[in-house]
Symmetry: C2
Subunit: 323 residues, 2 copies
């Protein structure tokens, strides 16, 4: 989740976006208690509610010439639901604020209705209902999705411990590859297109891991290397990742896969006893592979190796970086 930060200022990864967040959360002071992790946890009666917001903007997160309005809505909701997945929560309800130009572009269908229908499809697939929304005239399209879920066993970013194994669901790099094709004026096809346009939040997978003792989790939205840094900072440990172990999209080099954002796979810190037998059970239960890519050790930051050699971290996705 972009721009999410723990309550304790200073426990954030590096980069200009996070410098800003440090200032912001420091200013929030007492009213900001509980900030952190992919989803916020709120006690409601005897239940733990997980809540998260995810803002998608035209020109930043999507282009209307790349995606249909339905895909824009579905993708925005998928990104928000992915935060619930990383918290081990079961989705309950979705609210969406939509900004759209006063005059619809020349299209057969109403863009606002299409966007909301896409949000509705993602909600339905996740077992949640769309319960509210706001609709505002805007120069550019925007979709802000708020998701609410129930967390029976809430998982955060700060529970990783030295000795934990680092595991990743699915394969990485498809989203970045699709983006390269689109930027070059091409059109990704088949599975690559679906990977980009219809990301599937790893909800079943997140709940399975939550019920099997995961110590910390994050969803890959900014890129593996960047998101691993958030877990390292929040948990106060160092993460060692062997890029040679990375499950990559066909034809995508490991380094590119580690930089690819909006993948919506889960990075999990699991106790050392969790091994290939447990990963097999995960695959049978969810249909998604779970691959060990490294470990947590005493220290700070992320250490990437490839073929036994230290490699520098690829750039993740940082909205506020100058480029």
């Amino acid at each position: 989740m972009k721009g999410r930060a723990p309550g304790v200022a200073g426990r954030l990864g590096p980069g200009p976006e996070f410098d800003r967040l440090r200032t912001i959360f420091a200013r929030l002071g007492r009213a900001g208690r509980g900030l952190g992790d992919d989803a916020a946890l709120v006690r409601v009666g005897g239940t733990t509610l997980a809540a998260s917001v995810d803002l998608s903007l035209e020109g930043v997160h999507f282009r209307t010439r790349w995606l249909s309005f339905g895909e824009i809505g579905r993708r925005a909701a998928g990104a928000a639901l992915s935060d619930l997945a990383a918290s081990g929560a079961r989705p309950l309800a979705v609210l969406a604020s939509v900004g759209l130009p006063a005059r619809p572009r020349r299209t057969r269908l109403d863009p606002g209705a299409e966007i909301m229908a896409g949000v509705g499809r993602a909600a339905r697939a996740a077992g949640a209902a769309v319960v509210g929304g706001d609709l505002v005239r805007s120069r550019r399209y925007l979709v802000d999705v708020c998701v609410l879920g129930i967390a029976t066993r809430p998982v955060g970013r700060r529970g990783a411990r030295p000795g934990d194994g680092l595991w990743i669901t699915g394969v990485l790099g498809g989203s970045g590859r699709a983006l390269r094709v689109l930027r070059a004026g091409g059109r990704p096809r088949g599975a690559l297109w679906r990977r980009f346009a219809e990301p599937e939040p790893r909800l079943t997978e997140g709940r399975w891991l939550a019920s099997h003792g995961v110590h910390a989790m994050i969803d890959i939205s900014d890129g593996l290397a960047a998101d691993a840094a958030h877990v390292a900072a929040a948990s106060g440990v160092a993460l060692e990742i062997d890029l040679g172990l990375l499950p990559c999209w066909p034809g995508v080099p490991a380094r590119a896969a580690a930089a690819s954002g909006e993948e919506y796979e889960l990075l999990a810190a699991l106790p050392a006893r969790f091994g290939t037998r447990e990963a097999g059970a995960f695959l049978r239960a969810t249909g998604v592979p779970l691959t060990r890519i490294g470990r947590c050790v005493v220290g700070a930051g992320v250490r990437l190796t490839h073929g036994g050699r230290l490699v520098s971290a690829p750039r993740g996705f940082d909205h506020f970086a100058v480029r």
Copy 2:
């Protein structure tokens, strides 16, 4: 609340924004069950959670030359909290998505931090915590606030019955007056400025009314006449309002007060037995006046009178109207 709509398509007030909403909610179909009222109601364990989102955009809802960044955040959160007030809910948690330009304009303070601090001030004043947020680079400033609350006695728009009295909290017209002064290049002062820049959601007032048998409630965000039309449509009754009874901001004519948006007062349909004695108890409990301005009758729509004569409805605030 702008753009909020009941689950049953067709139960909306008139206007192009609502034509769009009809299409949208019709498309949501099954996943959109429960849509309606100022806040959505979601059962969580044994508790009823009230949830609402409210999107504020630069150039539509605020201008950075009129308001400080702190005021922008506080005002956006106040608007969202007002939806909880109209639902009779007690605020619990706030999440905010903020969009802001990559390079802060020449200012001593970080605009993002200022906006979030303003959100935090409104949350704190309402007894809620800021639990999450998202931060995204954007061409123009935007703040989308999601509020969560507990509704012990949830109130909606659709419970008004023929014979009910229509009551309004506080006085109307200050927000519109301040806007006129600003648009003319002036600077509202004192109470008028606070009315515009620091609207106070009627949370205590909403809960008092909820616990005293209110049948239906709405907060005045689009203007009294427009919001009354939503109650009439949702409840399947006609609303008669006597503009001569309207409590108006000093110097503001009743017709302008009935058109003034972003007032965040509550319009309440109360059983006929509710009278001046009860309004006195409300004033003693909350410090805010409660004035009877009309009644609900069999029929449809809103009927405005002034000095016994029928008057046409003033224009409310409709984002999608061409003007």
